[in-house]
Amino acid sequence: MINKRLKKELNKIEVPMYDISKYEETIIKAKKVKLHPERLRMSNIEFFYDQLRFIKKQTWVLKTFSSVLILFLIFTEQMEVSNWIWTLVAIAGPVLCLINANEICNIFQPGMLEIQMTAKNSFGRVLIVRFITFGLIDLVFFTVMAVGISIYKETAIWQVILYGIVPYVIMCFGCMLILNRCREQNISLYTETWGVCLCCVIMIAKITDMRIYQTAYFSIWLCIGIIALIGTIIEVRKLFIRTGGNLNAINYGTSL
């Protein structure tokens, strides 16, 4: 009797038709449920974007301001190409690189390096995020500057690239040497000093009328650029080895 009533009641319930898409939808939704968020880790791309928010706003503002100011001075200046334009182009690199170096120095704090070296994402990765980000932004700046100057001032594009990039690479080389050889608490001061010195050298060359932007000096610029580039590559490699763990010497906080 009870079974009959139960059967009758059950027959009243409308069972929807089997839908394979709903089944798939359930599986997809189930996969999205994070039962153990503590076990989940970011992918490399997520890590890259996540790191960007830790670059100080001040750095972004300073980079934007410097880039716009340099471009503004170059494009609005009615000076002849032979005058201050090349000096401005040459100074742009060290200035931008100095801003980058200051940001990178922030993560090279004594005692913080060790924590970063023991984290899942190696310190090398943290550095790569910054190198790629700043490198791409500076590349865009140099491209805009090179194309702009070559169009508006009617100069050869490779000249702008050479005079812009070589001081930039020299600045990078110096900063890498400092990062690899100096104690963490001093690197910020040293990189600033190096940047200011390099800018001063470029300025002095102009003031004392050294004609370093003449065609005769192209090969020297190129040689210096290549040497600085090789040096930078070697130093970057050393930096990654140094910060990737397994140091042969302790940097800080040891009992020795």
């Binding site: 924590i115 009992s255 020795l256």
Partner: protein
């Protein structure tokens, strides 16, 4: 889980910091006790993979820690002796930054950050700049960052440096509560930090473990050697150089002293229950004499 140290040594030029250490650690709290310069930090840095051993290796469940790379670092929480931070960071910024390099998902990182800052009593200082923090607050923040990824191996180098007694007691309770399924290594020269919470105490001297065992086993080694006595002022002068004096309290007529000695240092001396501090001082009394 097992953390194995096999013939682990580290030499800096002509100085041997760690010599041929062998140890097998499984889940529990381990106290590395030793004087300054005993090699504790060097050993911890080798375990963490920060520095490379001159010889030997560290293994986790039979696998070399360096070769494990990311997998090893993902199960590691480390508080260095000297804790640093990026200038301008608030406590929250710092925690989120460390969570990011530990690979935690941003949403979870936020939740965990709030939870841990509450745990270390820094929730009111979440948005304060770290440079305004006291030494104890910085240390507590350091402890919190080490716990972000719920580490299976937690290594704390001098975790209580700068903490007041109340904070020390609180810290001990936190560590004790979270020790389940974890290998926790606490390196310190402050005996009370590990006396009651350690499952094993490893006493380190000149780069080697000279003693190893549970606190009870170690206390047995000085049982019957600790004396409480009153020494007249006239006799006290020679006592400090002849005996290992743990405590002394100068009174009107004599000195109330606690002494570690194989024999009663004076008639009327009373044998008392030993503590790990007595053992520590016995082990390092020669270094203290050399220092003097």
């Amino acid at each position: 889980m097992q953390l194995i140290m096999e013939h682990l040594s580290k030499q800096f030029k002509n100085k041997i910091a760690v010599r041929q250490i062998d140890a097998v650690l499984s889940e529990g709290i381990y106290g590395f006790l030793g004087a300054n310069g005993a090699g504790k930090t060097t050993l911890l840095q080798m375990i963490c993979g920060i520095i490379e051993p001159t010889s030997g290796e560290v293994k986790v469940n039979g696998e070399n820690n360096i070769q494990m790379g990311e997998r090893f670092r993902d199960m590691l929480g480390y508080l260095p002796q000297e804790f640093g931070y990026t200038p301008g960071f608030t406590a929250k910024d710092f925690m989120l930054y460390i969570a990011s390099i530990k690979g935690l998902e941003p949403k979870y990182a936020k939740r965990k950050t709030s939870e841990l800052l509450r745990l270390v009593n820094l929730e009111k200082e979440t948005n304060s700049k770290i440079r305004t923090f006291s030494g104890g607050m910085k240390r507590r923040l350091g402890i919190a960052q080490a716990l972000l990824n719920d580490p299976k191996i937690l290594i704390l180098d001098e975790p209580t440096a700068g903490l007041d007694p109340k904070e020390r007691a609180y810290f001990r309770n936190i560590i004790s509560e979270m020790s389940k399924d974890k290998i926790i290594i606490i390196s310190t020269h402050i005996v009370s930090d590990i006396e009651y919470i350690s499952d094993q105490v490893l006493v380190m001297k000149k780069g080697d473990f000279i003693l190893q065992g549970t606190p009870e086993e170690l206390l047995d080694k000085v049982k019957g050697e600790v004396w409480s006595c009153r020494i007249p002022h006239k006799k006290w002068a020679g006592f400090e150089s002849r005996y290992c004096v743990v405590n002394s309290h100068v009174l009107a007529n004599d000195v109330d002293a606690r002494i570690v000695s194989l024999e009663a240092p004076i008639d009327g001396a009373v044998n008392v229950e030993p503590t790990l501090e007595d053992l520590y001082l016995k082990c390092f009394s020669d270094e203290m004499e050399a220092g003097e």
